[in-house]
Amino acid sequence: MSDLHEEQALGKVYDSDLIRRLWPFLRPYRGWIGFTFLLIPLRGALEVIPPLVIGAALNFLVSGSVSSDVAWVERILAPPEDFEVLLWLFLVLVSVAAALLALEFLRGWSMVILGQKTVRDVRGRLFDHVQRLPMRFFDRYPVGRLVTRLTNDLENLAEMFSMGVVALVADLFIMAIFAYVIFTIDPRLAAVAMGVVPFLAIAAVIFRYKVREAFREVRVKIARLNAHLQETISGMKVVQLFARERRNLADFERMNASHRDSWYRSINYDALLFSSVDLATNLTRALIFWYGARLMGAEGMSIGTVYVFTDYMGRFFRPLMDLSARYSVMQSSMASAERVFQLFDEATEPPDLDPAADASADERVRGEVVFENVTFAYGDGPVLNDVSFRVAPGERVAFVGHTGSGKTTTLKLLARLYELQGGSIRIDGLDIREMSRQRLRDAMAFVLQDVFLFDGDLRYNILLGAAIDDTVMEQAVDATHVRPLVERMPEGYAQPVSERGVNFSTGERQLLSFARALVRDPSILLLDEATSSVDTETEALVQDALHHLLEGKTSIVVAHRLSTIRDVDRIYVMHRGEICEEGNHDELLERRGLYWRLYQIQFAQQEGFAA
């Protein structure tokens, strides 16, 4: 909503390319589309009747006989024997109206079904698509924009069905039918009655063009206005600190006024259309009376026929009133559709291998990890450069190094969250690109620095969808000291939690992330240790939980804790994307190299309470 460029791209009301892309989603419901289109001629036939009924009533009152200008309608209008003519005409009129109501209802209903089902499907598919997009996509696409695509843009698309296309086609069809009927009744009077139509058509074309310009201007301005608002909200601290409120408000008022003034222009055109339709309706009536008077005098045209002409022409002009509303709905729907399909155009990751086809799928992963000449970059500069190492099943290794040296990236690559630029990673001798991602990630647990809480209950946030029975979960909860946390919650495991408004301490969050990993019973554990410090008591719990967590698994840890690096079999020291030292703690200290210095900085001060 804040993107000016996107808003400027808008304009097309009909785009065959978008319709073509929308078609696969419409296809399952093409029956509804067909049904709606079938209703149109039926509705057209019924819409012809009401003016003729009133015309016939007039003829009856003036001449005493029920006559109509359209033969098949006259048959309907002739009452059964001994039936009061006026009552019969009343009944016909109300029945036709009831039938039209039913048709209108069916049309609306089927359009609603078509629209809502289609949008539901598109939304589902779009979310599915997003699940398959590579991590790189999320590094650059703002979350807010993604939310807009899946909500507001799709709601706009639904509007197109309820207000747009089909109603437009039906309106045009019915206008054509009215024109046809009056021409068959009397071509000369019809020609006179249609006299104003070309002028109105020209006015409508000019209006369409003008309103399009005005709408575009409005959209650009509202986008600017909202961007300014959004930025002010995000930077409110700075705004208030720098006492910028007054000037900011002045800027905002100026933009707001300019937005309002664009609307004023659009209102002018809209009002012009409405009043010209009014004028056209009344002028057409006048023309019909003026020429009808001659025909009545010279050829004995009935008053009923004159009425029928005025009534049809009144109905002929009415759809023109909706034009501007339909136009703007179509315009914003198409723009939204375009943005939605742009998101569909984002390349997904290659489809996952079928876990069943995976040769070793049934075997439990032993956990041998080999990196061979791995090279990787997020953008321009390499983050990992020719990294090789091997971890035997059940071994524990730690990665240490400065921020940005590539430690966490190593873990992410092993989980195949990003694709390598060079080299290969193998697990149990099998290239991870030849394993299904599902199997790969099931075999490992990735413990991130901070636990991300999903909207759901505590149980969901521990299990994260793992199919595990309660005893296993309870064991994990005990082993990771999450038990007191569960007991503190009024509703226990059923306690709803979410990322916002949660009041877990840093230590509790760490323990929770351990519990998450433990329930998965992984062969390989990837742990990005939290750097944040916790109090001594919690630290002891974290250490103990960590001990349980690492037991019997191949563990790769980005270490920030002295106890962790002391316990591991081997330490890799990373520097600028390369492994520059390796060995166990004592060996590395003896070398008095980079590790020794890092140790002095990062770990020496923990000695006091960690030892």
Binding site: S2, L58, L87, L89, L91, L93, A97, L100, L101, V112, R123, G124, V130, Q131, V143, G144, V147, T151, E155, N226, I233, K237, V238, Q240, L241, F242, A243, E245, R247, F252, R260, F274, S275, S276, D278, N282, A286, F289, A293, M296, V306, D311, G314, R318, R441, F446, L448, F454, D455, G465, E499, N503, T506, R520, S533, D535, C580, G593, R597, I601
Partner: protein
């Protein structure tokens, strides 16, 4: 609603046009009756009567044009003022409000809710004013022709109004549910995208798909309900003109047969029915959007009714200048969340005007909170924070904010030019002053390296600055104010050592006479302070000068040791690393 006030003239004008329109509206059926009567009895009069209809139609169209323009403009004007008020009120709300309301939510109120109000005002105002006038006029005219027939024709309308009200209520409830569910879908997508790393590494995609599928189905069901109510209402309303036109045939026709009514009188009724149908349908539509409009108004009202706590109190002290002497007395602060420990407890501090205080401590110790209470970004109760001996809550907010410049942690810059960002707090600053501030923040040469210099656009549609550049621009922005109190909240974290030293040297309070707070993680940033506080878990654990704290051998001394080694490593790193890797390190730039 206070928004209908303001200039009276448009309202009067709008009312005149609307009433004029309603009167002319009545003349059209009568004019047609005259034509029809002439058609049947005196063909010679037809031409004159038709000419009158043409003239009448032209005037009628003009009134319609005018009333639409004026009434719709009033709607836009109200929207304009509502949005201004929303914006201006937001700017007066305290930080605690923005901590508890997400930007997305506040934006949704500004976009969706104001839109709902706007839709209602645009269509609604005109219809609500106009339709009753049209109906009353029409009923008066029809009563003059045939009271009995009029009653028959008018009778269905109340029923239809009841029907639209019935559907309107349902629509409102359904709409609220739909919007609520849309909100849940937004949250789910937001969560899914923010937690994508967890989702992917735990293979939660299928689970997420199912969760989304559930929410999506609920959304579908709710939206479907809204649409179905809408369709039902629209189709039922369409029955109205047919029933009334039929009643004219039946009741009116019988009267014509009985000889009590002329057939041309029937035309008046039919023409009225044709002309009243559209306003009636619109009224139904307006009722359905009115609900949305009111709901929007309620949500905007929630924000507008939030008390802007940070404003001048009645007992405000009439000060004109702040010298910069600061005292904290037993400062205690906790966020309004149950059971949470206080962020700050028992903090005492005295700073003479023109002195510098450094604050260090672990993450989450309360350092940012401590400096946020000074410019009243966060509210504390009376008797805890004093500036020049006056309780901060009694210092005029305007003076407080113009005398204190704070460089917050996140160094937020606005999407405008660098020059405008730097003179953000003082838009009247000259280019020389801007340049001077940039020079003192050591960002001048960076800016001059950009092709467009100070006119370079920052942000989404401009260039992306590095973290260090952003921080330095934020410092320049503070310096332009020439404040009596300067607060750097970890504002040098992404700036390299040498630049940090240079900037701090320039800021030296001994020369500028400015009171300074420096929150930092690096000892080097606070070493020169007159007084250094170590905050741990919200309490002052150590206090003194650099020398005193180093001798004390506590947290500060350990931090100092560690950072000395770190500095050493920064100098030696490439050599050690190269030796260790046994390779020739090609890139050894950017050190020191």
């Amino acid at each position: 609603m206070g928004y209908v006030g303001g200039a009276k003239l448009p309202y009067v004008f709008g009312a005149v046009l609307t009433v004029g329109y309603a009167v002319l509206f009545q003349l059209i059926p009568l004019s047609i009756r005259r034509i029809v009567a002439a058609l049947e009895s005196e063909p010679g009069l037809v031409t004159v009567a038709v000419r009158d209809l043409v003239l009448l139609s032209a005037v009628f169209a003009l009134f319609r044009l005018g009333s639409r323009i004026v009434m719709f403009r009033i709607g836009r004007q109200i929207e304009f003022r509502l949005r201004n008020d929303y914006f201006s009120h937001l700017q007066r709300l305290p930080q605690s409000f923005f901590n508890s309301h997400r930007t997305g939510d506040l934006m949704s109120r500004a976009v969706n809710d104001i839109n709902g109000v706007r839709l209602f005002l645009g269509m609604g105002l005109l219809n609500i004013v106009q339709t009753p006038v049209l109906f009353v006029g029409a009923i008066v005219v029809m009563l003059g022709i045939d009271p009995a027939l009029t009653l028959w024709v008018v009778a269905p309308y109340p029923a239809f109004i009841l029907i639209t009200r019935f559907f309107g209520r349902r629509m409102f409830a359904a709409n609220m549910e739909g919007q609520e569910q849309l909100g849940r879908v937004s949250t789910l997508v937001q969560e899914n995208a923010s937690g994508v790393l967890v989702v992917r590494s735990n293979s939660l995609e299928d689970r997420e798909r199912r969760r989304f599928e559930d929410e999506n189905l609920t959304l579908y069901a709710r939206m479907m309900k809204v649409a179905k109510i809408n369709i039902t209402m629209q189709s039922v309303v369409g029955l109205l003109p047919a029933v009334t036109a039929g009643l004219v045939i039946l009741v009116g026709g019988r009267a014509v047969v009985a000889g009590t009514l002329a057939s041309e009188d029937l035309w008046v009724f039919w023409i009225y029915i044709g002309m009243l149908t559209f306003p009636t349908i619109m009224l139904g539509f307006v009722i359905s959007i009115a609900q949305r409009g009111f709901a929007g108004l309620v949500r905007i009202g929630e924000v507008l009714d939030t008390d802007p706590s940070i404003k001048d109190r009645p007992d405000v002290e009439p000060m004109t200048e702040i010298r910069g002497q600061i005292a904290l007395r037993g400062l205690r602060f906790s966020y309004p969340k149950e059971g949470s420990e206080p962020v700050l407890a028992e903090v005492d501090l005295d700073i003479e005007s023109g002195k510098t205080v450094g604050i260090v401590g672990p993450v989450g110790a309360g350092k940012s909170t401590l400096v946020s209470v000074v410019p009243r970004l966060l509210e504390v109760s009376d008797g805890q924070v004093f500036i020049d001996g006056i309780d901060v809550n009694r210092v005029p907010v305007g003076l407080l904010r113009s005398s204190i410049a704070m460089v917050p942690q996140d160094s937020f810059l606005f999407s405008t030019t660098l020059a405008d960002n730097i003179r953000f707090g003082r838009p009247d600053a000259t280019m020389d002053e801007v340049r001077d501030a940039a020079r003192r923040a050591h960002v001048l040469s960076d800016i001059e390296d950009f092709p467009e210099g100070f006119d370079t656009q920052v942000g989404e549609r401009g260039i992306t600055l590095s973290g260090g550049q952003r921080q330095r621009v934020a410092i320049a922005r503070a310096l332009v104010l020439d404040p009596s109190i300067l607060i750097l909240d970890d504002a040098l974290s992404s700036v390299d050592h040498a630049t940090e030293e240079a900037i701090l040297g320039d800021l030296d309070s001994a020369r500028t006479g400015r009171t300074c707070f420096i929150v930092a993680h690096r000892i080097s940033a606070v070493r020169g302070s007159d007084q250094i506080l170590v905050l741990e878990r919200g309490r002052v654990s150590e206090r003194g000068t650099h020398r005193q704290l180093v001798e004390m051998g506590g947290f500060y001394a350990r931090l100092n040791e560690r950072q000395k080694l770190e500095e050493e490593i920064e100098e030696m790193e490439p050599v050690v690393a190269a030796a260790a890797a046994g390779a020739n390190m090609a890139d050894s730039e950017g050190v020191g």
